[in-house]
């Protein structure tokens, strides 16, 4: 399942996408530790799989939280994206 966490408001569109099918076989759950702002958590989804998700409390703040990892020029590879060996994490902005 592809889960898009984020929002679109007056200032723009900000979504973090997690391909949860790739989370199922994952062991080290590196994304949780990799994110300096603690956006990621492991939850049991509606189909009883253990997958990564963005915390509900931070879902509507992703643009503000992710700002630290996104300087205005030559943005380095994002920690959450590189930490995930299965390549399940992506950002829309």
């Amino acid at each position: 399942m592809i889960a898009n966490y984020g929002y679109r408001d007056g200032s723009g569109e900000y979504f973090i996408t997690i391909d949860t099918d790739r989370c199922v076989p994952c062991q080290d759950r590196a994304c949780v530790a990799a994110c300096p702002k603690g956006l990621f958590e492991i939850v049991e989804d509606d189909y009883d799989d253990r997958v990564a998700a963005i915390k509900d409390s931070l879902r509507k703040r992703v643009n503000y939280e992710c700002m630290d990892c996104k300087p205005t020029h030559d943005v380095p590879p994002l920690p959450c994206v590189t930490a995930c060996a299965a390549g399940a994490v992506a950002h829309s902005w």
Binding site: M1, I2, N4, D9, G10, E13, F15, D46, Y47
Partner: protein, 324 residues
């Protein structure tokens, strides 16, 4: 002028304002107005339905789904995996009470009580506050499952326009979610925005859709960025003499554009199905279909029960897996 000023100022306080009664209002509105209650145009009618061709007694698969939304709450009773009764009520400021009120409304007249229910699943904004639910499932999964039942297993893309959020969901032929996206931070493109417009134009919310189609030329949309922008723009258009129908057309088009741009982020695969209260607004639905170039599957069920129906079907599956 000064002589006039003193006399006018003292008289100003002396003369008491008189509240005139709007002509053409029916007795109930006049009475309500006299009682000081402002006419509330946003209030949409609550729903109730029972399938009285069937008898629930003797079945060991009686399940209930409760969807406590931010604006409305629904209860669906399913017997042997098929919808038997449902009710849709306004969510008050207290979720547990709203869920009980919705269930009581659905059970009313069926002779069934909570004790007869084998499994109950809660979903929606207030799913954790449903006292009698054994399991909570997200509205994303429930809407997919409900839409799969209501629209048939060819449905692949579901658009849910709820009270305060808007969801785009992809599912497979069994109603399992394969891709989803939800926007609940901004009121643009949600039921809440529709209520704001009904309030502003002073017309019942159920009239917005049909009247928005009574225009010969489709006007340009009002700003689709924000409900408050759209509202203040609508006020300006009315001031400039636009008809209510033309303003409604511009507003519904803005809402449709807003929702379609969200849908486009995950793509639209046939068959396409719309759930939630706004699905009853033919003005928005038809414009979404025009923008997408895809017809939405019609269903005989009330589009607002998809979440609760999905929850009841989830409960049914859990019962069959012996999780009862």
């Amino acid at each position: 002028m000064t002589l006039l000023r003193e006399s006018l100022t003292t008289q100003w306080t002396a003369v008491k304002p008189v509240d005139l009664v709007p002509a053409g209002q029916d007795e109930a509105a006049v009475a309500a107005f006299a009682a000081g209650e402002v006419i509330q145009h946003w209030r949409w009618p609550e729903q109730k339905w029972v399938d009285d061709t069937r008898d629930w007694r003797g079945s060991d698969r009686v399940t209930v789904g409760i969807d406590v939304g931010s604006v409305s709450s629904q209860a669906v009773v399913a017997v042997d995996g098929k919808p038997y009764a449902f009710a849709s009520v306004r969510t008050g400021s207290n979720s547990p009470e709203s869920s009980e009120k919705a269930l009581a409304r659905a059970l009313d007249g069926t002779g069934m009580t909570l004790a007869d229910v084998h499994f109950c699943v809660g979903t929606g904004y207030g799913r954790v506050n449903v006292p009698f639910a054994k399991k909570a499932v997200t509205e994303i999964a429930c809407h997919a499952r409900g839409a799969n039942y209501m629209g048939g297993n060819t449905v692949r893309t579901i658009l849910d326009m709820g009270g305060q959020d808007c969801k785009a969901i992809h599912c497979d032929d069994r109603g399992k979610v394969t891709n989803f996206l939800m926007n609940d931070k901004c009121a643009a493109g949600t039921g809440r925005g529709m209520e704001v417009m009904a309030d502003l134009l002073g017309i019942p919310i159920s009239d917005i859709g049909p009247r928005s189609l009574q225009v010969d030329v489709e006007p340009p949309p009002v700003s689709s960025v924000c409900v408050v922008f759209a509202k203040s723009e609508a006020i300006g258009l009315l001031k400039a003499g636009w008809s209510v129908e033309k303003v409604l057309a511009a507003y519904c088009l803005a809402m449709a554009e807003r929702v379609v741009s969200l849908l486009k982020r995950i793509g639209v695969e046939k068959d396409f199905f719309i759930t939630g209260g706004i699905a009853k607004n033919v003005g928005v639905v038809r414009r979404i279909e025009q923008l997408l170039g895809i017809e939405a599957i019609k269903s005989e069920f009330d589009s607002q029960i998809a979440g609760a129906l999905g929850a009841a079907l989830f409960a049914h599956t859990l019962l069959e897996k012996g999780k009862g």
